[in-house]
């Protein structure tokens, strides 16, 4: 089909004037001066180490710590029985700080020690004697759900951690009236965020202030609450003070709770600061990857390509403890239904406990997992109907004003423009012979209205300093994605000052406003809106104070206040004036963004977010038919994230998110051998190197959204979602066969082309 030029402007290498501002923090990073968790130490600090289970499933008969405690230099030893803790958890309370009666995965935390140095701590760990009685284990989630499977938790019979059955519209009518039905089973392994800096935490117990955790978190307030609960401390006695964060990608929203809780408990017991630093191996074997999934999905389609309905039966692999897996499973099982106009859906999703690594979350929260299944089916249907995959997507994709099958209220929506732009840019109309082409689309929420129905927004403070500079206090964390730079730009625009006059503070929970965290792609839209409101409030307060001082109305331009009579005032003068008149206060603007309550009902129907971002990716790749190896040559990433605040960092988000998508499509996944992670190194858990990535072309379809600050929407998570489907579709286009098991390795593609039975 012919491609229309989108009406909105697209910008390829946007170096728009004034929008490439970078927060000065980058200078300390690039010179090696930034202090990360691994670099951090405290006077008198002890080193903590965790003893982990060597068995996937075993009863603990006895833990003998006598020899460890007798070692010179050992200051504290903890075991599960002495702690008498109550279970804690994120979505489900199913974890204890240390195992008491049973261990449930290889790596399960059994005991912890603190000693004067790491070597002593390691020796002490080895000196602890544990008697285990091995129990039968289960690794496959489908097997775990069968009757007679070994049970992991007494209070979760049948190993069901969470489940949901859902029907909206009439899916049976859809399938009855379908011209074509496509159906396939897809499997996706557990994916590790693989942030480059391993997690560490220094816990300090102070009789006056309480516990302070020096650890970098995307969601310090959420972690603080769980840790306070586990320690039985009042919330105001638990603080987080974050060093610079070496990558997060969802993995540091809750991070590794055991590390925080155990370092705190060791600090309390020893009376000294305690640092626990995970090794890279521990990151993999006791970290928190995103759940693996098996998705059986079918789609009912009319002969003209109209989607009538879709059904899915999904099993997700929780591992030994739940983390956020129920929430990830929920998102995974429904969000992709809202990127198309689907009248009827039916879904069953079951989250199963297995004797493997507990799971957590990863950038895009399972949306990219489902994208693999949904977008594969679209291409399968198009092929069966002899339709152009682009045309089929354009026919069905959601548009402004739609209410989707799950009740999402689609506001500004540039999805079809994204599709057109991506297809045009990749050369959809003049494909190179022998190359594979694929498309994929995505929708992504900008923060959640329903995660906590009572807490839907964000707040911020903007304080005028005595020297005329401005400090923004926010709970939104920046670990390189550019949030703080963008916040400075937003506030600068509201105040008409330069971004460089603004400092953003977020790392200490003692002073930062509460935040849900750097998650759900909420920071720019929700957190940024609070910043805009705080800056606007400060501006009004500045005007008021200036008017009081001068006795006449004022305006502000380029950081300078002008009165009607022509007098000019520096911001610092106003700050001092207010400071003196209030005996020491600073002019402070408050920003409260409180989105309206959602119509979200008990069944989970309703609007879940203040805004939605959209994306379409197009891939062009080559296939070596002799080996099955694919080389992704080019990926065009067209995004409607509203008005882009900062093109430099937005491009960085696209490049990085696409790279993670390529990794997940082609290389990554936790491999297990009898419950043991077999590829627990960065050599064998293969994230892409500079040589493994295609040319990536970001395209921004800048349709202003009325909700977020100055028309902007979120970008950081949706960037990786469509990659998986687009690569899978392009690979299927080139190979003539479809791989339904991630990653798309050369071996799988070759096997499928050669018609081999699956082995290994």
């Amino acid at each position: 089909m012919t491609l229309k030029t989108p009406e909105k402007s697209t910008r390829r290498y946007g170096k728009a004037e004034g929008t490439d501002y970078q927060s000065p923090e980058v200078w300390s990073k690039v010179t090696g001066k930034a202090v990360y968790g691994i670099d951090h130490a405290m006077p008198g600090m002890l080193h903590g180490k965790i003893l982990r289970s060597p068995y996937p499933h075993a009863r603990i008969k006895k833990v003998d710590t006598t020899a460890a405690e007798a070692l010179p230099g050992v200051r504290a030893v903890l075991t599960g029985t002495e702690l008498e803790s109550k279970p804690f958890g994120i979505a489900v309370e199913d974890e204890l700080p240390l195992a008491v009666d049973k261990v449930r995965y290889i790596g399960d935390e059994v005991a912890a020690v603190a000693a004067v140095d790491l070597q002593t701590a390691e020796r002490a760990i080895k000196a602890i004697k544990v008697e285990y009685e091995e129990l039968p284990a289960v690794y496959d989630p489908a097997e775990a759900l069968q009757e007679g499977a070994p049970q992991l938790h007494d209070n979760f019979p049948g190993n069901v951690a969470w489940e949901r059955e859902l029907e909206r519209g009439s899916s049976s009518a859809a399938f009855a009236g379908a011209d074509v039905v496509v159906e396939e089973s897809f499997t996706i392994p557990a994916i590790h965020p693989a942030y480059l800096e391993p997690i560490s935490c220094i816990a300090v117990d102070d009789p006056y202030t309480g516990i302070t955790l020096h650890t970098a978190l995307q969601s310090p307030d959420a972690v603080r609450k769980i840790v306070a609960g586990a320690l039985n401390y009042p919330l105001s006695k638990v603080h987080v003070n974050g060093p610079v964060m070496g990558g997060g990608f969802g993995g540091r929203v809750y991070g590794n709770l055991k590390v925080y809780i155990l370092s705190a408990m060791l600090a309390i017991k020893s009376g000294r600061p305690v640092k626990i630093q995970l090794t890279r191996e521990e990151e993999f074997t006791a970290g928190r990857p995103m759940i693996a999934a098996a998705i059986k999905m079918k789609m009912a389609v009319k002969s003209d390509g109209t989607i009538l309905g879709r059904e899915a039966d999904i099993i997700t692999d929780n591992g030994a403890y739940s983390g956020q897996a129920p929430w990830v499973s929920k998102t995974l099982s429904e969000r992709n239904d809202s990127v198309y106009r689907i009248p009827g859906i039916k879904t069953r999703v079951r989250l199963a406990y297995t004797n493997k690594i507990p799971t957590g979350q990863y950038r895009a929260y399972g949306n990219q997992v489902a994208n693999f299944a949904t977008e594969s089916l679209i291409d399968m249907a198009a092929k069966k109907l002899g339709l152009d995959p682009l045309e089929m997507r354009l026919k069905n994709c959601v548009r402004e004003g739609d209410i989707t099958v799950h009740g999402l209220q689609v506001g500004k929506c540039g999805l079809s423009e994204c599709l057109q732009a991506a297809a045009r840019e990749i050369g959809w109309d003049h494909k190179k012979a022998g190359h594979g082409y694929g498309l994929s689309v995505a929708i992504h929420a900008n923060g959640s209205l329903v995660f906590d129905k009572n807490f839907r927004g964000a707040s911020a403070l903007a304080r005028l300093e005595l020297d005329g500079r401005i400090t923004l206090f926010t709970g939104e964390q920046d670990y390189g994605q550019g949030t703080h730079g963008a916040f400075a730009q937003i506030a600068a625009k509201a105040l008409d000052v330069r971004p460089a006059q603004i400092t953003v503070e977020s790392k200490e929970t003692k002073t930062a406003p509460f935040s849900t965290g750097a998650l759900a792609m909420r920071q720019t839209t929700v957190g940024g809106k609070a910043i805009q409101l705080a800056a606007e409030d400060l501006r009004e307060k500045i005007f008021k104070a200036a008017a009081e001082l001068t006795g006449e109305p004022v305006t502000m331009k380029n950081s300078v206040l002008n009165t009607m009579s022509g007098r000019t005032l520096e911001l610092g003068e106003i700050a001092y004036h207010y400071h003196n008149n209030t005996s020491g206060l600073n002019l402070t603007g408050e920003g409260k963004f409180v989105p309206e309550e959602s119509d979200y009902d008990e069944s989970g129907y309703g609007n879940i977010s203040v805004a939605y971002s959209f994306a379409a990716h197009a891939v062009e790749l080559e296939l070596d038919k002799t080996t099955g190896a694919i080389t992704v040559n080019r990926l065009v990433a067209a995004h409607d994230s509203g008005r882009i605040v900062n093109h430099l960092t937005a491009r960085g988000q696209v490049y990085g998110g696409v790279a993670q998508g390529i990794g997940m499509s082609c290389f990554e996944g936790c491999l297990f051998d009898e419950g043991r992670m077999a590829n627990a190194t960065l050599a064998d858990y293969k994230i892409p190197t500079a040589l493994d990535l295609p040319e990536i072309d970001p395209l921004f379809i800048e349709i202003e959204d009325p909700v977020g600050p100055y028309g902007s929407k979120g970008l950081g998570e949706i960037v990786m979602v469509p990659v998986i489907g687009a690569v899978a579709n392009a690979a299927a286009d080139a190979a003539g066969v479809r791989i339904t098991d991630l990653p798309l390795t050369a071996e799988k593609i070759y096997q499928a082309m050669a018609g081999w039975e699956c082995e290994q």
Binding site: V26, K29, V30, G32, Y36, G480, R651, A690
Partner: protein, 160 residues
């Protein structure tokens, strides 16, 4: 051969001679960070698999986590700290900032050192040579594109 666990190591570090008493079996990374207080060199894996600990040994990029300290005896070591001494910043670092090549920043010191080693040896690399030069430095944030832009841009500046 002797029975001492530690020995005196003398080498050039960031343009100055240093003399330390250390276990030669310890990695150069451990010595730099824990003995010499140079925390700019990062530790991401301890196995030569991520490149965060990249330093220059006799002008060549190496994984300091894989180099036994004993090996640097009499040789020349350069770390990230050497690139921004006296309040000045190396132009490679300027380009990294200019091009948006720094996100979480954890790989940045190692990445900058790999770029520095490349441009020392080959001041006019082509894009493929840049990719190869940083192929031992993992970055999870950036997709490498803006890092590559920064290095090519630094090379361009070297020309003038």
């Amino acid at each position: 051969m002797n029975n001492l666990k530690k020995q005196v190591l003398i080498f050039q570090l960031n343009g100055e001679p240093v003399e330390i008493f250390a276990d030669p079996a310890e990695s150069l990374l451990t010595v730099l960070r824990e003995k010499l207080g140079l925390y700019g060199t990062k530790a991401g894996c301890g196995k030569g698999e991520c490149g965060a600990c990249t330093v220059l040994l006799d002008d060549r990029a190496v994984n300091s986590c894989l180099v036994p300290a004993g090996k640097v005896q009499g040789r020349k070591v350069e770390t990230i700290e050497n690139l921004s001494q006296g309040g000045k910043v190396h132009m490679i670092q300027e380009e990294f900032v200019e091009k948006g090549a720094v996100q979480c920043g954890f790989c940045s010191p190692g990445m900058v050192m790999s770029a520095y080693a490349l441009l020392k040896e080959n001041p006019q690399p082509n894009p493929e040579q840049v990719k190869v030069a940083i192929s031992g430095n993992l970055c999870r944030c950036s997709g490498y594109k803006q890092i590559e832009e920064a290095i090519l841009s630094a090379a361009e500046r070297l020309k003038n």
